[in-house]
Amino acid sequence: MKDDKDMSCEHAKDKLEDWLHNDLDKADRLSVDKHLAECVNCQEEFAADKQLWESLAKMKVPEPREEMRVNFYAMLDNFKAAEATNKPFSFQTLIEKLRDIVLPQWTVQVAFSLLLVGLGWVIGNKTSQNNVSSTAYQQQIETLATQVEDMKSNMMLALIENPSATERLRAVSYTSDITHADEKVIDALFTTLNNDPNVNVRLVALEALTQFAKDAAVREGLVKSLALQDSPMVQVALADVMVKLQEKGSVKELRKLLDKEGLNDLVKNKIEQTIKDLS
């Protein structure tokens, strides 16, 4: 029936999804509302649907992990390289590559732990033979732990200038369980953050530096880095870090960044939002 004044139940139900989407034109909405006011059945049904519809919105989705982004840019890099050399791109190789980055890291970790346990055992034996006090033993273990940290710092410094981006990624990852980074390590990380040709490596360096951000000098270095980055990815990541650290001192540099020519729209929005968040 065409008579809108007396919409049928069927006709009303036909409009249900549009009604839920708030997608009805005014005339349709009015006639649906009118029908609902008069028809208890439809009223109940629409209310139930609405409840369901609203509940659906409450189903939370977790955030994808940061690895997803790193993997994407690694894939893009590989794709670009493959395109440039005209070699067929293999997805499998990429996955293997990324796995390689993580796995040796784990192996090294175990090696370090075993080393620590082994040496501890040796020292323990020696000390019990020589009747050295347990405080001395404890001290020796602590010295040992420091030495392991130093060793990691040294490996990091040795690898950080490696021509392979993967090695440099690994170098940066060694810093993840160093508790006290010395100046040399911090400097190396900043050099990487500001100059490394590979976006993945720069991002990982940024992540590593963020964990040392208690240090005022590190924070200052991060703020300065804003002016040096040309990759939208790193610019956005840095802006995120500024918000995370609530680094209000960065607002000035962020404003300068806004004036940069050729800044992409996405980054521009992000920076504007960051300034707002910090002011």
């Binding site: 249900l16 999804e17 989407h21 997608d23 139930a48 649907d49 369901l52 519809w53 509940s55 659906l56 919105a57 409450k58 189903m59 939370k60 989705v61 977790p62 955030e63 994808p64 992990r65 690895e67 997803m68 982004r69 993997n71 994407f72 840019y73 894939m75 893009l76 794709f79 670009k80 395109e83 791109f89 997805f91 939208p232 990815m233 956005v236 992409n264 729209d265 996405l266």
Partner: protein
């Protein structure tokens, strides 16, 4: 100022400026992840599938004509990739209820009150019980906020069919949500 629409970005990727895919990734990785997550309830699987979509868009960039919307094309690829992965993993049920039960057990929703959390929990079970076809149209319509004509293009079916399917899916979900035993 040049506006960087999705389509113009993708056309630049097609022309060889592959870095522009990074911007498209930044725009769409979360909504795409959400789509896969609603469909599978597995976080790592969803992350892989997102990566796959971007890989396929790079690989088949020449197929993008720019006549339709980029988003439609992307979701069209996304659901094909999802279907392929479902076929490959027939053995395991691809909507993981247990993972979500763990996550929602005491996590992010705990502060929203007991009753609501139970609602959402129950809704997950109801969604899990839907057929893939039904769940798919609901996810696209509710979470990706697509209109029927866009869903029709993504799924390669006509708009009338979409409408009927959404209607039935909603009815089915409602039946499960309101009439099943709720403990």
């Amino acid at each position: 100022m040049n506006t960087l629409t999705d389509n113009s970005l993708m056309l630049r990727v097609k022309a060889g400026d592959l870095d522009k895919m990074g911007l498209l990734f930044e725009r769409y990785n979360r909504p795409l992840f959400a789509f896969f997550y609603h469909m599978t309830h597995k976080r790592d699987v969803s992350e892989d599938l997102v990566q796959n979509v971007f890989y396929r868009m790079l690989k088949y960039k020449h197929a993008f004509t720019g006549e339709g919307e980029f988003r439609t094309w992307m979701y069209h690829l996304a659901r094909n990739i999802l279907n392929d992965s479902v076929k490959q993993n027939r053995s395991s049920d691809h909507y993981d209820v247990s993972e979500m039960a763990d996550k929602l057990g005491g996590g992010t929703l705990a502060d929203e009150g007991f009753e609501k959390r139970e609602d959402v929990d129950f809704l997950h079970k109801a969604m899990a019980g839907l057929s893939d076809d039904y769940r798919e149209v609901l996810v696209l319509s509710r979470f990706q906020e697509m209109k029927y004509d866009e869903i029709a293009k993504v799924l390669n079916i006509n708009e009338g069919t979409v409408k009927v399917r959404v209607h039935r899916a909603l009815g089915e979900l409602k039946k499960k949500f309101f009439t099943n035993e709720r403990r």
